[in-house]
Amino acid sequence: MMLSRETAGGRWRIRPDGPDKVTGRLAYLTDLAAPDMLYGLVLRSPHLHARIRAIRTELAAALPGVHAVLTHRDVPGLNAFGISRQDQPVFCFDLVRYVGDAVAAVAAETIETAERALELIEVEYEPLPVLDTPEKALAEDAPKLHPQGNVMHSNAYKRGDVEAAFAACAHVVEETYSTPRQMHTYMETEGGLFVPEPDGRLTVYAPTQHGLLDRLQLARILAVPEERIRVVSSPIGGSFGGKDELNIQPYGALLALAAGRPVKIHNSRRESVRAGLKRHPMTIAMKTGIDASGRLLAHRVRIVADTGPYATLGAEVLNFAAEHAIGPYRYANVDVESVSVYTNNGMSGEFRGFGGNQAIFALEGQMDRLAELIGMDPWEFRLLNLRRMGDPGPYGQTIAQTDGAYQVWQKLKESALWHQRKIGGRCAGGRDADVRDAGGKGSGERKTAASAAAVPGNSGGNARPPWIRTGIGAALVMHGFGFGVGLPDPAAGRLRLAEDGRIEAVFGYEEFGQGLLATLETLMIETFGFAPDDLRLVIGDTDRVPDSGSSTASRTTAMMWQALRQMERPFRRKLLEAAAGLIGKPVESLALGPGGVMSANGGQRLIRYADIAGKTAEPIAVETHFHFPTSDTDKFGAHFLYSYSAVAVKVEVDELTGRVRVLEQYHAVAAGPVVNPQGYIGQIEGGSGMALGYALMEDAIMENGRYLTGNLDTYLIPTIADLSGSTAVEPIEDLPDGDPYGPRGIGEIGSVGLAPAIAAAVYDATGVRVNRLPINPALLIRKPEELWKAVSGQ
């Protein structure tokens, strides 16, 4: 059944943060101001790669209205940050490695004074050779961007013998896929308010996806105990991975402490583009072979990722890409080698999909090409090679078993959209009209002549012009969530009856628009029977929350569900026992309900929660700490829990211009029970909107290491006009009997499958294979003589 407002019924709630967001009442952290606040700005490198010879700040410091001018000399603790590897300097001191590198920062009474102060800071640079491609960075004589060299991370996995297997293959497809530097494009750019408190502590109001980790990183930089820092990090105006790593926090914190006054920093869009993370551009070469019956025999993958100047989570992204380049298919022989390379380009890092977007675009492209080689329907070809329940994970590792891969395959096959394709006709001028092959060179050469087609206006009614071609394509996604083997991945939660009678649900998670608060509210209502007004949801404040781990990796809903499952019985028992004691009735006769404790049979309210609060000897509170479930393999990064999706899409290609429009989408998602129907649809639709942009228009183009897309007038993301087609979301909720893990993550999976499905649909429509995103309309545009010859003869 499709998920919608109608089918969700009473579970479709107004999200608690909704009214304030749609009316504009809600204050984001970057909207905050404090009395006596200063404005902070960061001086960033004008060079892609240079040695710093000298930094002089005297003139800037002497400017009236300037309260602090900081460089590497002013970092009391560790002059470096990075979630997993601290290789990014807070302030550069010897080298600058990209045009976003920070060299100094100022705090002044006005933004104009701060801008003037930046101009007065003198930095002498000695430009160095620029490594603006992974190839240049990997050259033997390339200068080293870091002491250990320019290979940030590499990863290899082998089983069987692919070379021997290729020799036995009936068909082999070899293709190289390239993917763009996509920008998260959150509406709220990075920023925050940093307040030195009278008691000597520092309060940081700045978005992040893991407040406690920011606190840890800032404590290292400031050389203070973590407890001296409070990080308030929600609500957030979008993140998508882009605010997971520290961004402006080190500068705001250092400036506020140096000036002894609150400091506000808020990046302009241009500075956000320049300094912020992007999705890793990857080049993925795949060679995949099948036997005469279509069964996969061997799969070889070579991935080169451009990670930019510093690591952040680039290693983990690469690991994820390598694992997902194997995917949900069965092959005896696999050989994956991947490398992520330091360059002087912009920062690459964590981004919704986390390397899966690139890998699965390539992998699904291989499946389509192989199916065609052997003359099979591409979806049936996938089934022939698809994993079944009981199969190990991509690395051969133990995983939590579900039948998700087959379930989404089956649902898509039964979908009305896929049926449109099977009944043929394939709308106007389909893929059998003629075949073109962009091939490895992306040349767009046509193999056979164009077919004749109807002249518009002659066939009457609503005939489609012959240059409008439609096609349908599909892709399958197996997406791991959580961090995987070898990384700390804690989870925790707390429930408490507060003094004022509110039931507090406390988690160290963040609300960045995904609907976390709505999901938590729904879980509390449906688990316990509370009313929304009974609840206080506490998140995003390191002084108040347990270490629930990060709000990343599609993990929060699953972790909240599991935490509540652990806390449900003890918390219910404590509340009921307290009520029983106060009203003198047996515990068994009582039940939790909206507003208070009820009679278990009659449903009549017997005592309000407010009348229980404070009346018990012991506080009514429970807390749980546990670790995200992981596989027993020692393969670093291997996942244990997976979600599955199958995506079908119908596109229209205008061969006058080569432009592609998405007409219709269908998503089958197997991820366990739907916790929050509105949030579920939001994640799949929102993710697929990002995938549409990734497939058709988004690329933060760099030329010589500098962004050509400095703002949203050149970096284009889809608007409502591009997203006007219909989107159906069909969740598959059932899990194997006894499954203890509950809802699976869906925060990222929607952003993965649509791009390869669009590529398949474009091929269906035009006969042109694309191996590079975003799809270049120049490959799909037809030359006039071809177009108008097709019209002649009518």
Partner: protein, 305 residues
């Protein structure tokens, strides 16, 4: 006398002249450091991107009477340069007599931009997306040049927008219903189209813009054929050779091939990191040919066959 408004910080000085002559005097006095402005939408993107420095002085034209409003009389329309794009779109006289212009303007920016941006700025930029529509309507530009008013055909001005010596201010855009467009002209009906190609469906910078206009007779013959193309940083131009191909001709597949070839040879597109010249040339040729094919077909249907 203009009021000088001192703005704090780094903002330019803003002068608000009361008439065109004063605006020109201010411009003469400030030279390159004084910049005419009205909606300011294009200037702001230039300042933000760093492609132009914020000048020391802005000469705000919005207080000058006579530069606003649309005057229609005797088959002609004079559009004041201060007319906002959103106002232009909504003006009945524009939509009925010059629908290509209304369509072109509707495709510029987003509502918030169109509520600020003026048609004068779009024209004066020499790369505005309204220009191909104005070109096929054979618009004339009215200028205040110190003491007098000068009239230039838009096409002539676009041939070299920087050519004119001395300070001048755009005071009007005149659209005349010429023979080909006038009701009661030669037999047949007026047909036309405007298309904009961008990198997304809406609120997008243009890659290619085209406009076509002509009179289609009952037997399918075209006369008064006009075509123009621009887009991106390309200065829009009439496509005279392509026009010649279709003048007095019918829309046949062969004619479409020859029109396309003429466009490919004649159109001088922009090129940037987002789209190359070859792609833009092909797209312009295809869009123009496809519009003629559609218009010819619609014309036949319009005959009630």
């Amino acid at each position: 006398m203009a009021m000088k408004e001192q703005a704090p910080g780094r903002c330019p000085e803003v002068w608000r002249p009361r008439d065109a002559a004063e605006a020109c005097r201010l411009k003469t006095a400030f030279g390159p450091d004084g910049v005419f402005t009205a909606g300011g939408t294009l200037l702001r993107t230039q300042w933000e991107s760093g492609s132009a420095a914020m000048p020391g002085t802005l000469i705000d034209l919005t207080a000058i009477p006579g530069l606003a409003g649309i005057r229609a009389d005797e088959g002609q329309l004079v559009i004041g340069p201060l007319v906002k794009l959103s106002e232009l779109m909504r003006t009945e006289a524009v939509a009925t007599a010059f629908p290509l212009l209304a369509e072109a303007v509707r495709r510029i920016g987003a509502p918030s931009v169109r509520n600020l941006a003026t048609i004068g700025g779009n024209v004066a930029s020499a790369v505005g997306d309204a220009l191909p529509a104005l070109l096929v309507h054979e618009a004339e530009l009215l200028w205040h040049t110190g003491g007098r008013t000068e009239t230039t055909a838009l096409e002539d001005w676009l041939a070299d927008p920087g050519r004119a010596q001395g300070v001048r201010l755009l005071t009007g855009i005149r659209l005349k219903r010429t023979d080909a467009e006038a009701p009661g002209g030669p037999p047949g009906r007026i047909v036309g189209a405007y298309r904009k190609l961008g990198r997304r469906e809406a609120f997008t910078p243009s890659l290619v813009t085209i406009a076509v206009l002509g009179r289609l007779s009952e037997d399918g013959t075209l006369t008064g054929v006009r075509m123009a193309a621009g887009g991106g940083s390309a200065v829009p131009m009439r496509l005279r050779a392509a026009e010649t191909v279709l003048e007095g001709a019918r829309v046949t597949p062969d004619a479409l091939v020859r029109v396309s070839e003429a466009v490919l040879a004649e159109y001088r597109p922009a090129s940037d990191a987002f789209a190359g010249a070859e792609y833009r040339r092909t797209a312009a040729a295809n869009l123009i040919a496809a519009e003629w094919l559609r218009l010819a077909g619609a014309g036949r249907e319009g005959d009630g066959r």
